[in-house]
């Protein structure tokens, strides 16, 4: 945090959150700078998903500050966050399984985007979705579902994209392809926060990485630096 860079678009300062009496985040600090990709890494159960849920407005912070473009937005509802331009793709599949592809895109117009734009961009980027537009999302393969989820980010013109475990249950090839798409979006100026168990999937395209252990961000820095630090945490040597 040198202070010379642009003001962070999304910032967490000392954020605490928990489930009932159990606190899971014990003061998380994170700063997502405009037009960059921040990779939030670390093993399962470290609090990554909770952090992402707090950022998306799905889970309340019990302490600290959540800031969007410098404004404190603690307690913001998920729908308001979405309307402010935070596009969040949750863990698992960010699609409605019992809606068709087209209907999924239609549901994504809640933030004010137009269906025609969404369809154009989604089918343009992922032609397979165009072919399956009237198919139920739940009947598609995992990769196709993730493409559909990502299409929401393409067509709604968000300011911030939150991606939680994009790679979960996907074949490596598809993961690579997904992250290529994400890298393209970052190049176009989107700011992206990615929570990811598999560091190597995302590190190559990350601008910054943060390592999260036991509800705290224990290190933030250049991807290569963080990669070095985490080797021990995964396979136990």
């Amino acid at each position: 945090m040198t202070g010379t860079e642009a003001e962070p678009l999304l910032e967490l300062a000392g954020v605490r959150a928990g489930y009932g009496a159990i606190e899971v985040l014990h003061g998380v600090d994170l700063a997502l700078r405009p037009g960059s990709l921040l990779a939030l890494l670390g093993p399962n159960g470290g609090g990554k998903s909770t952090t992402m849920r707090v950022c998306a407005g799905l889970h309340p912070a019990t302490g600290g500050e959540l800031r969007l473009a410098g404004r404190k937005v603690n307690g913001i509802s998920a729908q308001d966050a979405a309307k402010l331009g935070v596009c969040s793709i949750p863990e698992g599949r960010g699609v409605f399984p019992n809606l068709t592809v087209r209907e999924n895109l239609w549901a994504a117009t809640g933030t004010g985007a137009r269906l025609a734009d969404l369809e154009e961009k989604a089918y343009g980027r992922f032609p397979i979705l165009g072919k399956r537009r009237d198919q139920l999302a739940g009947s598609m393969s995992g990769g196709e579902q993730q493409m559909l989820a990502l299409s929401r980010a393409l067509g709604t013109d968000p300011a911030v994209l939150l991606l939680d475990e994009l790679s979960m249950g996907l074949a490596p090839m598809i993961v690579t392809r997904m992250y290529d798409t994400v890298a393209g979006l970052v190049e176009e100026g989107l700011s992206v926060l990615v929570a990811e168990q598999f560091a190597r999937a995302v590190l190559p395209i990350a601008d910054t990485a943060a390592l999260m252990l036991n509800g705290r961000v224990v290190a933030t820095g250049a991807p290569a630096e963080i990669e070095g630090r985490m080797a021990g945490d995964y396979l136990g040597g």
């Binding site: 598609m140 995992g142 090839m173 168990q197 999937a201 396979l235 136990g236």
Partner: protein
């Protein structure tokens, strides 16, 4: 012959194949690890083995007998026990009664014998000091041990543990590991799904690795640690490509 064996298990949810042709084995007196990234199908495998999930195809064999069509209760009576990743304790009962109720179900012995058996299990799992507490007031790490104690009360032959160490402190994990080793030494077949890989490497004699619903490796901890496929699955995709 392995005590528990799955053959070519496939499970589908809607259009997704959660588990694809997986064959596992577990032996008496051994701790077997089942690892893999999130969403790889570990819990689905446990559900299939215990009968909570119907497989699309494949077989589950216990001691050589096909038990694929049996209800969870019947499997339990044949010696299968498990714990749950998302705790499934009986919240209206005390710690002691959570364990005791397993004895009430099977009714092997008189009331006095069951009382003694309950005390023995509580002692063995180190829960005696909180036996009278409401189970909902027990911290998560020890609540996981209560689930193990409840499973042990059924005198199982196969014990499936779904992330038993998550939420435990280091000291609790230490004691827990010791207990598992002791149980295995008595002939129990234990299967461990766990994210704490150092713990798995240390305890298990054999490890199965699931990835995207497929079994990508089986072997000793050393073999697993050195398997390029496993490293690729765990650390990411770049390595695998290179």
């Amino acid at each position: 012959m392995p005590l528990l064996e799955t053959r070519d298990i496939t499970v589908r949810f809607g259009g997704n194949t959660a588990v694809d042709g997986v064959g596992l084995t577990m032996d008496e007196g051994q701790i077997t690890g089942l690892i893999g990234p999130n969403g790889a199908g570990k819990t689905t495998m446990f559900n299939t083995i215990t009968g909570l999930q119907k497989p699309a195809s494949g077989q589950v064999l216990l001691d050589g007998a096909d038990i694929t069509g049996l209800s969870p209760a019947k499997r339990a009576r044949r010696g299968m026990a498990r714990t749950f990743q998302r705790l499934e304790l009986f919240l209206s009962l005390s710690v002691r009664d959570n364990v005791r109720v397993a004895g009430d179900v099977l009714r092997k012995g008189s009331r006095k014998q069951l009382d003694e058996a309950t005390d023995a299990v509580l002692e063995r799992t180190g829960l005696t000091d909180i036996a009278g507490r409401d189970v909902s007031d027990v911290p998560i790490g020890r609540a996981r041990v209560v689930e193990v104690a409840r499973a042990l009360m059924t005198s199982p032959r196969v014990l499936l543990l779904d992330e038993p160490a998550s939420g435990q402190t280091e000291r609790e994990t230490e004691a827990f590991a010791e207990m598992l080793t002791g149980l295995a030494a008595e002939g129990l077949a234990i299967c461990l799904v766990e994210h704490d890989l150092p713990l798995v490497m240390r305890l298990c004699s054999a490890i199965h690795v699931l990835d995207y619903g497929e079994l990508i490796a089986s072997g000793t901890p050393r073999e697993i640690r050195e398997s390029p496929k496993v490293i690729a699955a765990y650390i990411g995709t770049e390595e695998a490509a290179s």
